[in-house]
């Protein structure tokens, strides 16, 4: 087959609805884009440098495209991709807020990007100062004592937190006896997975009719084999766990620790703090609350902050402010060890740092206020149209159910989601949390305006009034329509070469 035409643009939605060829389809033998600097280094041949048993017979096939086609290919792909910069993204639990452009720029300064992670401390005083400042601020925001910035995402933070929990119990001689971690049934899937990888057993505790942890049920689970509990507050229904103080006391009473999943921290910035609620370990998703962009699925950053007793166990080395005012590395006394190749997703940390510096303390509180205001306004606006299983004041997000719609119109949550794409919005999170049937979890974030919320509400109202047959056709506006997920799994094609 002859190579595809790199300059034909019908795959850009501006121009058409065609498929975009892959890099491999675009390849023509011998074509290339790369050029290499003149170095003056002697031009030994490969076989002078590598013994025959190690040397490849053939170059590894990558692709053979011109720079022009490469750029056009990825530019067209970018036009086939929704993003916050195109419009609202009310994906519950994901906090898809606008990512300020200034943070992009702060994190692309050569003095930050071109620093080797193994450089001696004399050469990284700027980085260390930034990390220490960020750590201190995150501790202030969460009400904790010390933090590690190494975990590169929320789930990594969770696992780090669980290992801290384990290290603490072990140090206290209870490593073998504490075997269970309690998780509410509304928890995000990473929580139980992390518990398992942390070597613990999961005990699920049910939510009560208010959508919160059932404190009595919890009490029944609690015993001295409990290592701790993982909660997010507000929880994944967007509801504040009002009994948190009681929960904390109960867990602490049996010697357990409280772990805070910080995915929902955006709701409470400057309003209340996990540390003040009694949590011992807190992870944050800087790619949610602190505007690190999601990058289509990362990189994020999932720092973990802890109470004083847990600080000696933190991963090391930790950036530290030294007595002489300079910065260095510190290895916590009883450190669980490294959790990252280097120092965490440093440039993501720099973005979050710049976001915090821009907002300041007051700005962060305003973030929370407006996030919560938006979510409550929208819940009010959708009342009577969608079922709202927990229809009470929510925090930054809320969950509606399409159960009634399904019954009345045959519309499922997935249909609402696909129709919403046609209305110019990304879909909410669907079918999560698991405790709500036909769940649609909506998190508008604080950066969307009242007008955007109104338009989103109008779209959701119109969709609810529509019929299922029509909705099943959705989306009809996108470059591909509903994709055959079953086939993808059944006839797995994980690479171009597997076709």
């Amino acid at each position: 087959m002859s190579p595809a035409a790199g300059g034909k643009a019908t795959s850009a939605p501006l121009m058409g609805r065609d498929e975009e060829p892959t890099l491999f389809d675009l390849s023509s033998p011998g074509r290339r884009a790369a050029s290499f600097r003149h170095t003056g280094v002697p031009e030994w041949e490969a076989d002078e440098l590598v013994a025959p048993e190690h040397l490849r017979d053939q170059p590894a096939p990558v692709a053979e495209v011109s720079e022009r086609d490469l750029v056009a290919h990825f530019t067209r792909l970018s036009h086939r991709q929704y993003s916050v910069d195109l419009g609202a993204y009310p994906l519950g639990s994901c906090t898809m807020k606008y990512n300020p452009k200034l943070c992009d720029e702060a994190a692309s300064l050569p003095g930050l990007t071109d620093v080797h992670p193994a450089a001696p401390v004399s050469l990284i005083q700027g980085w260390l100062a930034l990390l220490v400042d960020l750590e201190e601020t995150l501790c202030q925001v969460t009400g904790m004592h010390a933090a590690t910035l190494q975990p590169p995402a929320g789930a990594a933070g969770e696992l780090t937190g669980l290992l801290l929990m384990r290290a603490w119990h072990t140090w206290r001689g209870e490593g073998e006896t504490r075997r269970r971690v309690i998780i509410p049934d509304s928890a995000h899937g990473t929580n139980p997975a992390s518990v398992t990888l942390g070597g613990y057993q999961v005990t699920t505790v049910a939510s009560d009719e208010r959508g919160c942890v059932d404190v009595d049920a919890l009490r029944r689970c609690l015993d001295h084999d409990v290592a701790g509990i993982m909660l997010t507050n507000p929880n994944t229904l967007g509801l504040f766990e009002e009994d948190i103080a009681e929960i904390a006391a109960a867990v602490h009473e049996v010697g357990g620790l409280l772990y805070y999943d910080g995915a929902n921290l955006n709701a409470i910035l400057g309003v209340t703090r996990p540390g003040d609620m009694g949590f011992d370990i807190v992870h944050m998703n800087l790619h949610k609350t602190f505007a690190v962009p999601h990058g289509g699925g990362g990189p994020g950053a999932g720092p973990v902050a802890v109470s004083p007793g847990l600080a000696p166990f933190l991963p090391g080395p930790r950036p530290a402010r030294l007595a002489d005012g300079t910065f260095g590395w510190d290895r916590p006394e009883r450190s669980i060890g490294r959790v990252h190749s280097w120092h965490g997703n440093a440039l993501a940390l720099a973005r979050a740092w710049s976001y915090i510096v821009a907002n300041g303390g007051d700005g962060l509180r305003r973030v929370a206020e407006m996030a919560v205001l938006n979510a409550n306004w929208l819940r009010h606006r959708l009342r009577g149209v969608y079922d709202i299983p927990y229809d009470r004041p929510n925090m930054h997000e809320f969950v509606v159910s399409a159960t009634g719609l399904r019954r009345r119109n045959g519309l499922r949550a997935a249909d609402v989601a696909k129709r919403l794409l046609e209305e110019g919005f990304h879909a909410p999170t669907v079918y999560f949390p698991l405790i709500v049937d036909e769940a649609l979890m909506i998190e508008p974030t604080e950066t969307e305006s009242l007008q955007t919320l109104e338009a989103l509400a109008e779209a959701l109202v119109a969709i609810a009034a529509g019929d299922a047959a029509d909705a099943h056709e959705a989306p009809r506006t996108s470059p591909v329509r509903r994709v055959d997920e079953a086939r993808a799994a059944r006839h797995l094609i994980p690479t171009w070469d597997a076709r």
């Binding site: 040397l55 590894a60 053979e64 530019t75 993204y89 004399s122 700027g126």
Partner: protein, 462 residues
């Protein structure tokens, strides 16, 4: 102060009225009084955009940056390669940067197709059949590889070559604290891994350390932390004999010249993808590459993009085999990875596309040439000896006549990041005199010559 919230006072008032509240504080009425933060956060007031950028610039000025301040000869999994402009201009288009994980594939074909292409090239480089959409970094990829192997073999012992990056081994150890894997340290002899059967009789047999059963996996780095090219054929043979899976942590640049681990029979190949499209970045975000054979696909950690069609029969991409993932398997999941490093994978495929087949080979070749040239120059210096005898490709280790960290500090004054001081696990009980030196395609002959001159001066100071 910079403000990213659109609400005007009038709008806030109207919205509060709609929901029946009279103040913003009432939004938080459900929070018990005692838990509410009195007096607000003790965080400095916000700054304007210009002030933030000024502050960031001050911070950045306080670092020693490769290129700007220093000529970089440090590597160890973090290499100073040229990143072409296309990566910055195309991979970081805002559609890629500000998207979430592709949950709605109809409007996420951009990220999905880019990942599919990335997976394809990862497989091609490593000689594997399936690759995931990325993990956090080289270390996490090693951890996931070990977890996969233990689950697949039902054996919890993992033999880990000491040639694996020390930080990665440390991370393996940290997470083994949760999984309970038994990590067995396998020493190097003259630069390459001495698997038990080859171990000189006076070295302890790792299998004899008591609690360890037969290995579920062997993990070896290629080339290893000292830059030496491991004998993967031998490792594969040990794996075959012991019934373990062969896990290879592979430098993805080196396979531009070297035979792929898959060619040698590896079961899982992981790597640190930083060399493709990612600057040094003080160590992150980097890119955990992960590939395996097809029969291990159901144990593959993280996200996997597959090709399919839409209802109209158009080619389309989607994340697939999602039943492996933590959001569905929950406590039964064998990995908890959710957010990964997608954007870095996109940067990698853009850089790889730019390099192309010939360019990747040339990049590797140029690294190897520079390394050869630098090694000759450095070993020509009085008092500097090779740390290991095995052949190297893009990095090499030497013993200095002075402590390596001292040499690194002094070399910084000369304008060089001289390399990475090696720990006692490589240098033994003697002085900490080991230095790991990496040479990329960026380094010119003049820079290497100047480096050698400076190093000669620096090591001759007492």
């Amino acid at each position: 102060m910079a403000d990213f919230v659109p609400h005007t006072d009038a709008e806030v008032a109207a919205m509060l009225a709609t929901i029946g509240l009279s103040s913003l504080d009432e939004l938080f009425a459900v929070i018990p009084e005692a838990l509410r933060l009195a007096g607000g956060l003790d965080v400095a007031p916000g700054l304007s955009e210009a002030d933030v950028l000024d502050r960031a610039a001050l911070v950045a000025a306080a670092n020693g940056a490769a290129g700007r301040d220093l000529v970089c000869f440090a590597g160890g999994g973090a290499y100073d390669h040229d990143v072409p402009a296309v990566v910055r201009r195309v991979a970081f288009r805002s559609e890629f940067v500000t998207a979430y994980t592709p949950y709605q594939p109809e409007v996420a074909q951009g990220v999905l197709q880019a990942l599919f292409e990335y997976q394809t090239v990862v497989c091609r480089l490593f000689g594997m059949e399936v690759a995931n959409a990325s993990l956090y970094d080289g270390a996490s990829a090693c951890v996931e590889a070990a977890n996969l192997a233990v689950a697949a073999t039902g054996r919890s012992t993992v033999w880990v070559s000491r040639g694996v990056h020390p930080h990665w081994r440390q991370v393996l150890a940290t997470f083994a604290g949760g999984t309970g894997h038994d990590l067995v340290d396998v020493p190097l002899v003259d630069g390459t891994t001495a698997w038990p059967d080859d171990v000189p009789t006076d070295a302890p047999d790792p299998r004899s350390e008591g609690r360890s059963g037969p290995p579920g996996a062997l993990l070896v780095q290629y080339p290893n932390h000292l830059g030496c090219i491991e004998d993967l054929a031998a490792a594969a043979e040990v794996a075959r004999r012991t019934g373990a899976l062969l896990l290879v942590a592979c430098d993805p640049v080196s396979v531009g010249l070297l035979r792929s681990p898959g060619d040698h029979g590896a079961d899982v190949v992981v790597g640190e993808g930083q060399p493709f499209g990612t600057p040094l970045s003080f160590g992150g975000p980097y890119l955990g590459m992960f590939a395996c054979t097809r029969d291990l696909v159901r144990r593959l950690p993280g996200r996997l993009v597959g090709e399919t069609v839409d209802v109209d029969g158009r080619r389309a991409y989607v994340t697939t085999l999602r039943t492996r993932e933590q959001d569905i398997r929950r406590e039964k999941a064998s990995s908890n990875v959710c957010t990964n490093q997608t954007l870095i994978a996109v940067a990698a495929i853009v850089h790889l596309g730019w390099l192309g087949t010939a360019g990747l080979r040339e990049m590797a070749l140029r690294c190897a040439r520079g390394t050869r040239y630098a090694r000759q120059a450095v070993l020509g210096i009085d008092g500097i000896e090779p740390l290991a005898g095995a052949p190297v490709l893009r990095e090499f280790a030497v013993r200095l006549p002075v402590a390596a960290d001292v040499a690194v500090e002094r070399m910084a004054d000369e304008g060089f990041l001289a390399g990475i001081a090696l720990g006692p696990e490589y240098t033994g009980d003697g002085p900490a005199d080991g230095l790991l030196i990496a040479v990329t395609e960026r380094r010119t002959r003049a820079e290497i010559d100047a480096y050698a001159t400076a190093l000669e001066k620096v090591v001759s100071l007492s």
